[in-house]
Symmetry: C2
Subunit: 159 residues, 2 copies
DNA sequence: AGCGAAGTGTTGGCACGACCAACACTGCTG
DNA sequence: CAGCAGTGTTGGTCGTGCCAACACTTCGCT
């Protein structure tokens, strides 16, 4: 193990190192690890759904999925679990009888807040090597790209 | 579909919108789509491996995997395909008889160069909404984070 | 009024990527 | 020599994203 280990062994090829697509993929993996490690993998999805329900009022499942970038089918099964745990209520929309209005419960809110603190910690860990200015710069750049590629309309006023 | 569609329907919850972990995950998905769409999904992995082999000389599979952030087991099957297509040669290391030296072939180089142009296009598409300065700023920030979280040593002198 | 197109929720499936575990083998080091 | 670590391989699991189909509802149009 000597011949390979001591020289500059750990470094990716330049082609990838200069590729934003690769860099963002790698970093996404690290971020995923941090989150899963701070809360569980299932809680990761739950967090997004609960966050959506808390900030938008009662909402149809499809609309919720669109705003979170999650497929209708996947939303469905997540809500099954969330509803079983009393974090969410699913009631038929009286106006549109084919839709179901999803709503967060007080229990769900408590869970969301509990997850919040751990998620915040993960964010901080991820951005640790950056200065505060660089961190906000990075998130702002990411927001611009995400907004463009996912066709978001009025970006919720960034910090 | 009217009641929900025309107002500010498309926008993620603030909690996620302010989360670098979430943003980077979303963008990683977009980047992945762009690449898979420019070359195939298998070619995406091939590209990383071929890029590594082109820039580092002949190399053991494990070392290659380490530098690319890919598991030994996954490297193994990728090389099976690459070798079958004559893009790569696997020869036993004469010094370390338990290792196999992997080497890119001229055919592999040609494939790498062909992929290169399409990958470049994908990068450009991903960063289209940014100015050149912002683009280099973003990649530099991403590099710093990736370098930190994956423990790379001497970051190959960024642009 | 009725017909077709489109939206909704659900189930089931596929593909891909990131892991992990075990195995046989080689190499190093006490 | 014995034990431990590195190597390549096989095979498996899990999470995530995506698509297809289905039954049902709603909208738009003539």
């Amino acid at each position: 193990m000597k011949a390979e280990d001591h020289q500059g062994e750990i470094a990716p090829p330049e082609r990838l190192w200069q590729s934003p697509t690769w860099l963002v993929g790698q970093l996404s993996g690290d971020a995923h690890r941090l989150i899963v490690d701070a809360i569980t993998a299932v809680a990761r999805t739950d967090y997004a759904v609960l966050a959506g329900l808390e900030e938008f009022g009662p909402l149809s499942q499809a609309a919720l999925g669109r705003r979170l970038g999650i497929d209708r089918s996947d939303i469905s099964v997540v809500l099954d679990r969330l509803q079983a745990d009393r974090h969410v209520t699913r009631s038929p929309d009286p106006a549109h009888r084919s839709r179901k209005l999803v709503q967060i419960t007080p229990t769900g809110r408590r869970r969301l807040e509990r997850l919040d603190t751990n998620v915040k910690k993960a964010q901080h860990t991820l951005l640790k090597p950056l200065t505060p200015d660089q961190a906000t710069e990075l998130t702002s750049l990411l927001q611009r790209l995400v907004q463009h590629h996912r066709g978001y309309q009025h970006p919720p006023a960034a910090s």
